[in-house]
Symmetry: D2
Subunit: 280 residues, 4 copies
């Protein structure tokens, strides 16, 4: 719509289906004139509809396990080859916890699962950056974004070891942002997004209540996947060149709220019902 990414080349990790934030980012990047490749695991490619997205955007889909340095190397090599030059932007939208899936509580973590959570959801980001850096695969003033969540700062019951993974992810963005910034003017940020009804997140217990609460707490309401895609576009564009090592809240104001009237009204209804029950 604005040609904000005209002439830019990118890699987008983590699109699964049309509910994915990464999917929306791909669609918007395409509209804004970028060319890019898409990457996800072999399983996700089979399970999801990423090929359809690839066709729509003229983007090659490259299977890769983001915990494998070798696979990531292939993604960069192949991307540079098919896109015809070095990369300008990268989206990392990858996260998974076996502890959550297998319903292991945070005080009963399986440590092999924890290692996997950290490897998939956070260390993979370091691997992407280290591979890019070693291969000198990013253009000067390039932009890298990883998606995060406020659980990195504040504990939400049920979010489990993903909270720790997001903290680690955000730290990696800062640590590598320093090095990649001073050397190649690459900026690295995380976007801390509202809870978003994706296929990956839909299984989380109690997600509906939390999303209602989040919606009512946020003055502007929860940010949607489409809106997140818009925000990613501006962070990839040339208009945000000096923003780096930041965790950017894209959440309708949730992170700066202590209590809203709308959420409190809903909460108070229960209090009143409780009191009525006690009287009865």
């Amino acid at each position: 719509m604005y040609n904000l990414l005209k002439g830019k080349r990118g890699i987008i990790f983590g699109a699964l289906d049309n509910k994915s934030i990464a999917w929306k980012v791909a669609e918007r990047a395409h509209e804004e004139g970028a060319i890019f490749t898409l990457s996800n695991t072999m399983a996700a490619i089979r399970f999801g509809q990423i090929d359809e997205l690839g066709e729509k955007c003229g983007a090659e889909v490259i299977a890769a396990d983001a915990t494998s340095v070798k696979d990531i190397e292939h993604v960069f090599e192949r991307s540079i080859e098919v896109l015809g030059g070095k990369i300008d932007f990268v989206l990392h939208s990858i996260g998974m916890s076996l502890n959550v899936r297998k319903k292991r509580l945070y005080n009963d973590l399986d440590y092999n699962f924890l290692n996997k959570t950290l490897d998939i959801s956070a260390i993979s980001f370091h691997k992407v950056l280290q591979v890019a850096h070693k291969k000198d695969a990013l253009n000067k003033w390039g932009s890298v974004i990883a998606l995060s969540y406020i659980a990195a700062q504040r504990t939400l019951y049920g979010y489990n070891d993903m909270a720790d993974a997001k903290s680690l992810l955000e730290s990696i963005a800062r640590s590598f942002g320093y090095i990649y910034g001073r050397e190649s003017k690459i900026r690295i940020n995380t976007i801390s997004q509202s809870p978003t009804p994706t296929t990956a997140g839909s299984g989380v217990k109690g997600i509906d209540g939390l999303m209602d609460y989040s919606e009512r707490m946020s003055p502007l309401g929860n940010a949607t996947a489409d809106e997140c895609a818009d925000y990613c576009i501006v962070m990839f564009s040339d208009l945000t060149k000096k923003v780096t090592m930041q965790n950017l809240f894209h959440d309708g104001g949730f992170s700066s709220m202590g209590m809203s009237l709308r959420a409190m009204d809903m909460y108070n209804k229960s209090l009143e019902n409780d009191e009525i029950n006690e009287i009865e």
Copy 2:
């Protein structure tokens, strides 16, 4: 109980009655071996029971308007005189908003009231520090605390211009903490306390619901005035000499919570009731 403040001299601003945090701090400071004076406005002295506290603790009560530099000068002069030496600790527990009292909403502030809110609740802290500094009234390694609230970081509906006053207060603690630290090793901190059922706060609309929510969100529950007094004692003691320019959350964990199970359960009850009503 521990003689943590043995031999120390202090000034405690803002005790009104036995619900006041400042009142509890005075009682605990007395127990821990400190001697001190008490100060509040003439009106508060008449309206409250501060004379009773003074007798109990052997503390002189000094009337002062904390927005008046002259009055504050008198408090320090008189305190040094009756306590027999320079001051080791100061508590600032002062806050008031006419906009809140007169039910002016935040989008309909009276700017004269706002100036008063800031002067009473925040600038008074600068005046206390500047007077102390000019008079060289504090001993090396002295400790100064002002009481704050999380509204300084996150918006809570109804807290109004007091949120802005607390932000200003916390900034003054940092700004003056730098100067007073480098010159005289004085430390200056704010304690961000759970909502506390004091006489001053009892009139705030919707305070009951908010306190219930805060209680259920905080893993340890809301911190009481007594517990806050304990925390002030350790911050006045010689065991915390290198903590300065900090805003210290004393809130049972509230500030680090995104959502607790207990609060969510209460919230969800309303959601369910709402849905039932819609079905009916």
Copy 3:
């Protein structure tokens, strides 16, 4: 260049001359298709070159004292009239400290000057918002930005009471952001900009050393006024609709740095020279 603000109407407060950030924002907003008015004090209009900017951008210049509710009312009324409709974006780039100008140290503040600092640099922002809100002068999904500085979070010697003013400013952005967000989907943010060599800031003592330090600490170097203007544009555009109540660091990474190699190298040279001197 991208038509990001096509069809949008704005008000830009605080342009003085072509070094001003507000000046650059006006130029960029013009390029991006916006129409707007410019406002500054009568004195600034005479002293600066704002009329030249107005001609260049086809923008009417409206004299106003931003501490006067009446003057601000006039700015909004006149802007809506000449622009032909409600306002979509507002920039607040206003700050001044008489304590700094008159070389009053932070431990020797003149409290009348402090009141003026807060009124001009922070409360004026509340007045702008309150006037806009009462007049229903902003379009739904409008965007308001005020310029801030990291002194709001961390003490920098010499920044004096402007640090406190910026803390207050950022708090007002949050407090009003909640109300304006829930009611009209207006977003309100502050941008925390690198130290920038403007005419207003050029008199600050020790600014050169600080800017060198800031430059070497920031992986991407200090952000320029031009780059800040770009960032304001994206924050005014429709691509950042769900970002609100945030303080957005636009500083080349400075805020997330503890120590960079480049700054440490410079620092260490002095250390070594000192040691040599001691040996000699």
Copy 4:
């Protein structure tokens, strides 16, 4: 000196020699009336002087690899046995990076080393807490502290993957603090300490310059290991019962500083020398 820990039982992980913070904490805990055990790896026990400390404090030394759940289980079982009851306080002062030791830069990390860094420096804390929780080994209102560093929030060149480990550590403190708080009123905090000249840290490249800079930036100077021990004592005492899930800066004010006059003076000397050299 104050009997603050009279009757309390503790476990202190990580004392090596008399420069260790954990060593100082043990000495102070002993003075304050606590009984406790000491734990470190077999190698550290041989290499260091922990047996000497054990004798001095009447504390049994228990060898354990803190990455081994089994070893940690043994530490708790044995501690409860020799101390005669459940545990009231735990100190976690454990950290190590093979990437730092082997001089692997952050953009050339060995991922096996990274896994070890995270396991030893952060996940070990989760293991300690999970074991304690499963064994119901902590008394109600117990207190757990882990030592951290500001690198968790802000990047310092050379601190490498330890920055990421500290971020993870602080996240674990919050995540487990929620669960352990709501269930057993246990509080869990991290103390973010000034750079401290310990044997473990002495090998870090450029540590002298950094410590000088940190000293001059901090209004109160760097916090010493002795002072950190005092702070740990108050955090273990009954006077801080409602402080949880916090990262507590114990750093002489460093974390709240943007630039001090003392550090800037030193920095500027180099600038001037540089300019002189350029002129010459």
